[in-house]
Amino acid sequence: MPELDRRDFLKLVGVGAGTAATACSDPVEKLVPYVVQPENVTPGLSTWYASTCMECSAACGLHVQSREGRPIKLEGNPEHPINRGKLCARGQASLGRTYHPDRYAGPLMRSAAGALESASWDDARAELVGRLKAAGGQAWIMGAPVGPSLDGVLTQFASAAGLAGRIVYEPFAHEALREGTRAVFGVASLPIFDVGEADLLIDLGSDFLDTGRSPVENSQQFADARDVKQNEHGGTRLISVGPRLDLTTTSADRWIPAKAGSEGLVALALAKAVFDVRGVPAGIDAADVQGFLAASDAATAASRAGIERSDLDALVDALVHAKHPLVMPPGVASTTTSATSTAATVMLLNALIGAVGRSVVIPPEGDAPAAANFAEIKGLVDAMQAGKVKLLVIHDTNPVYSLPAELGFADALAKVDFVVSFASLKDETSEAAHLVLPDHSAMESWGDAAPRPGVRSLVQPTVRPLLDSQALGDTLLAVIRDLGTETPQSSFRDVVQNNWSDVAWRDALGRGGVFSDFAFETPSLVLDPAKLSFSTPKLAGDGEYTLIAFPHSFLADGSAATLPWLQEIPHPVTKLAWNSWVEVSFATAEKLGVGFGDVVKVTTPSGSLETSIFPRGAIRDDVIAIPIGQGHSVGFYASEGGPGESGGPRGANVISVLPATTDERGGRVWLGTKADVAKTGGFRRLALSQWTDNQRGRGLAQTVSVADLVGETHDDHGDSHHMIDFEASFDADPDQPYRWGMTIDNDRCNGCSACVAACYIENNIPVVGEEQAIMRREMSWIRIERYVGEGDLTGGADRRPIPKGEKLGETDIRHIPMPCQHCGAAPCEAVCPTLATYHNVEGMNGMIYNRCAGTRYCANNCVYKVRRFNYWDYGHDNFPGLLGLMLSPDVTVRGQGVMEKCSYCVQRIEEARQPAKDEGREIRDGEVVTACQQSCPTNAITFGNLRDKESQVVKRGKEEKRAYHLLQELNTRPALTYLAQVSRDEQEGSH
């Protein structure tokens, strides 16, 4: 597109929205047509490119929707074996990195005065080359794990520049699991868990559905394994062991609230018990195992884990009775000083119960260097402190933020003569650099990923670089040449293509990679008790509480805190947004004399921080928990400052109070300290999007027991359960072939909120910010509500509301996604004086933004509370910088003072209608996929035509024992049918 520059495009995108939204205030802007029509771009039609999500190490496949040369939406690649067409909230939001207001517009060099000033690429590179030559072998490179092609270039660079070392740094590197696997199987690789293969899952704090290593994949497997249509008795059972209710535990059938860090003890006791009952499978030396397990004693383990002996026995019982059990090893939040032996124990246990080779596969060690141990990073920091590092190159990582303050990385960095950053987005580390050579965003780059054997995934650019950035690979290649070394390929694209020369390049590009089955060999046990014995986790300090630093569902290690959607979408477990908080139990809060939002000071031997209290029922009294990911001091959304401003940090960074200790094998420890909590007297309101989890027996989120489903017992649900009459839903023009509707299976929904992120991006929904989110003015068209049990008639009278239904061991947690129900007899429609909201011929509740005068009567009368009001001119103000380019041209950007709500992705219906019309047929079932449905990792959402009796939406909605309409007694005749959650007894897992 040579003739269309960024500004013109902005105008083009803005014009439709702008004129519609603010007819009276804005000058008329001119549409700029293409002067020269670019090839392969049909205005108004999307182009789709296959690529790979670079947001986390799972490496899900992407389909990038591109309109007029701009990627506007990411979807999962259905062919990709990891995510099978689905994408999580982080993946959805990662598109924003391309258009982010924090992006560096070009290279920056630190001037003599100490400020970063813009420079040309030639000067900047010359500076780097000069510095590299002058560093005299005392230069290091530190960066995140990268794909094979970039890794090759980095290796070339390291040798050409004569680097002293290369540190592959990742905050959540799972070193303990890698080392634990090495200890048991002699292979230093991260096992792959197929939770769908198991009939009993014991989750030892792994949080595999949310913050695990491959949540989209595991969520999908988990939901399929529990599908009640396929598995009459409810399929796989899940038992969670852990000190607080995390998202995975909300799906559990039983929750044993063990002490923080006791996962190893529990695993050891389980292993011993299984060993005692079953002995060892063939090929394992019983003596070695016995030696390792000798230290364990069930009674001691139970008491040290703070659980009942009967709970432990129940676990053992479930484990020995299950046909295919699987134990999930602890995740980041429970990485203790004995994390490696814990992981080893879990892997041994998996071997003993026969899971290894079936639902756990241990891939061979990869070619790319594994993430460094924490001990190695400590070594680098020591070298920096000692002045032995003259030059440090940092790419794709933010160690100033993500390393414990106690380690003193920031101080050490100041002692490095010259720091080079390849950051694309401004962060704490790049702001401390002397030279910034901004990398392309993932949408502008070539690249590849090899997340596991058999899966090779390609990254291809889908937009011309928006700013004066350069791909890291290209910069490095140029530097290598400048240093006087020849490179086999002149551009990084050629490097990638060369690496993929063994496959059909165009075909791989089209598919997004090469996916083949890989026969995994199950390695044999090499356990040597002499090398690894089980030790008790140690906690620093003598504070009253154990401090849990847990990964935030969306912000992960803090790298995603810069993405506005991830800040705004409520955290799926607590429903909090935009800030950090410290979770304490009600008893602890009472003891401290604090309530929701009161600021407390958390002190550990490594430091202290202040943040607001969030009291909850589902956390042990002896722990406090703070999410990782907030507390950035740099960034438009990540901190409280805007672009170019240094605002205060947003929330508190829990990493700053964590100790820099390591486990037995030098792995990073996240659960390693005690903490004291003290009241400060301050108060800072938290943006809590759901104030109560008590549904007061209103049957909003309903459940059906397995016994009822299979008809063993007949339990009359009273009036809380409503069977539905489908014909009543056909509230559309009788002559029309369509009545659009939806079915949501609450049993599959695990609350991950991918749908919410997809909806935000698909529908140009503005992000309103913390202050507005505190006032509950978020604009999301779909939200996930979370209730505990049936509820009772207590509560509701508080001014400082907090969900109170949770309690330790309670697993009746019900997630219910809440989009517009598109009622047949919609309360909103009748009351709109201007007919701005109306019933269309296909049965949907349309919303004519232009006609809305903003009386908000519809929102008052909407019994589902799904309507959102534009209190401010969000359409103009909330897409700063390039973010306006990310707006979908198919969806109106709403102006000030109008109401909006879920449209069932009407633009997608229209997109499907045109080809159907051209071919003289009706829209087929499955041709229209709403954004939420497309994204949902568990396939909980089905959309389609209710008039088509053969459609999936009708078929799924016909599950008589589970289908219900929300608030059916009000006779709003919703087009949305919910399928009640299934309550499973954990004992039935062996059916």
């Binding site: 006609r851 005068a853 009567y857 008052n860």
Partner: protein, 456 residues
């Protein structure tokens, strides 16, 4: 219909003496329009400043958006609708006094009707601000009108808000016409005594009134017909306003009792406001001769009656909420009384039902300081009644996960205060410009008394 005054009697009582001496009524009642006490200007100054602030706030809110108000999901209606209902209610006493009591020949109304009618007009003008303020896009106000257009856009006649548009515009026009027609003979009196610019103003406004027989005949017929037109409005306007709530599905709103409940409440609040206005006016302008204990006694009885109706309505609402066994409904009501907004509910019950019961005591019915304080309390109570209905209901609806809380923002509070200034400004101007008691109607009473003797 009152008989036209006997010509001879009128002539006798009104014939100017030599040297020309005005009638005592003219002198007394017209007195406030002359002279410039500094307190008046101070009061007017404060009111005008408040009005300037009000329009500043409106401009600010219109420019940046409704976000400056305190709306928090799920409470999409707030202070503006509360205050709108409050002012519309205030107006009702005026219409009741001028129309219904006229038709019922309740003669005591003659002394208070001018004030009450003015109050109606200004209350409706004040109320009319709020639906506009409340709109997300005030500049799209015309969308609410059914006007012919090329695009074939039409309004939704099913929406109670549209009924509101008609009800309020009808009410506003009838009130203004009623008020003005009643004023004409008095304007003529003022005209005959004014000089300079005022003379020109009054001359125009008096529409050539000469007090001739045919003019009197036309005048009294107009008043009669307008009374007939206005009478149903007393019942219908607030009924329609109540349907804004009652026609919805919101627990706490969806109740059949709403129309009579709102009408009674409106008359109740309106009379309280009449008390609050008349008592100071009477005192300051020395109108004790015209506004006697008798008038206040009658108004007190009305207040007692309507207070009791309100009390009944409150009880009926709670009873039905309990009796229906509909959980969202009963929860909504329970939380009204014992939830986060308990304060407003108990204010409402105390001020609207309990305090007015003191009026059973005859002595208190004519105790003006007591009545004044009671009036203030009732106004606060009635404002809180709307607060309770709107805010508590919206904050606790069906989907418990969407429950929230609303706290008015400073801008809303400034606009609320501004609305009182706006009302006061008009009322103060009215005091200055027009006779505060209908001179001709008072004279009519006097003449009637002279002719027939007996009490009022």
């Amino acid at each position: 219909m009152p008989p036209p005054p006997p010509a001879t009697a009128v002539a006798e009582s009104l014939r100017p003496l030599t040297p020309a001496r005005d009638s005592q009524a003219n002198i007394d009642i017209m007195a406030p329009t002359k002279g410039f006490p500094w307190q008046y200007w101070l009061a007017l100054g404060v009111a005008v400043l408040g009005v300037i602030n009000l329009f500043g706030m409106i401009a600010y809110q219109t420019y940046v958006g409704l976000g400056v108000a305190g709306y928090q999901t799920p409470v999409f209606w707030g202070l503006y609708i509360i205050t709108f209902v409050f002012w519309i209610g205030i107006g009702h006493a005026g219409t009741l006094i001028s129309a219904i009591l006229f038709l019922f020949r309740a003669k005591w109304r003659n002394a208070v009707n001018r004030c009450a009618e003015a109050l109606t007009v200004f209350a409706v003008i004040t109320a009319a601000l709020f639906p506009l303020l409340h709109l997300g896009r005030i500049w799209k106000l015309y969308f609410l009108m059914p006007y012919p257009n090329q695009r074939g856009l039409w309004v939704n006649f099913k929406s109670p808000l549209l009924w509101d548009v008609f009800a309020i515009s009808t009410y506003m026009s009838i009130s203004i016409v009623f008020f003005y027609i009643g004023l004409i003979p008095d304007i003529a009196i003022a005209r005959d005594r004014a000089t300079g610019v005022k003379k020109i103003l009054y001359t125009i406004l008096a529409l050539g009134w000469q007090g001739t027989g045919p003019q009197w005949k036309a005048h009294s017929r107009s008043i009669l017909h307008l009374s007939g037109l206005a009478t149903p409005l007393v019942l219908s306007v607030h009924s329609v306003v109540s349907w804004d709530f009652a026609m919805s599905l919101v627990p706490g709103w969806h109740a059949t009792i709403f129309a009579p409940y709102f009408v009674a409440g409106a008359v109740f609040g309106g009379f309280a406001m009449v008390l609050n206005v008349l008592i100071p006016v009477r005192r300051i302008f020395g109108l004790e001769r015209y506004l006697t204990a008798y008038h206040f006694e009658n108004m007190s009885r009305f207040i007692l009656l309507t207070s009791t109706i309100c009390g009944y309505a409150y009880m009926a609402e709670y009873f039905i909420a309990w009796y229906s066994q509909v959980e969202p409904e009963s929860t909504s009501f329970w939380l009204r009384a014992f939830g986060p907004y308990w304060f407003s509910t108990w204010c409402m019950i105390t001020f609207n039902v309990i305090f007015p019961q003191l009026l059973w005591i005859k002595r208190l019915r004519t105790n003006l300081p007591f009545l004044f304080i009671l009036g203030v309390f009732i106004n606060i109570g009635m404002w809180f009644e709307r607060y309770v209905i709107i805010i508590t209901s919206l904050s606790r609806e069906y989907i418990t996960g969407a429950w929230g809380l609303y706290i008015p923002s400073p801008v809303e509070l400034a606009i609320l205060a501004g609305s009182f200034c706006w009302f006061s400004m008009w009322f103060l101007i009215f005091l200055k410009v027009f006779p505060v008691i209908a001179i001709t109607e008072v004279k009519e009473l006097v003449i009637h008394e002279k002719e027939h003797g007996g009490a009022h």
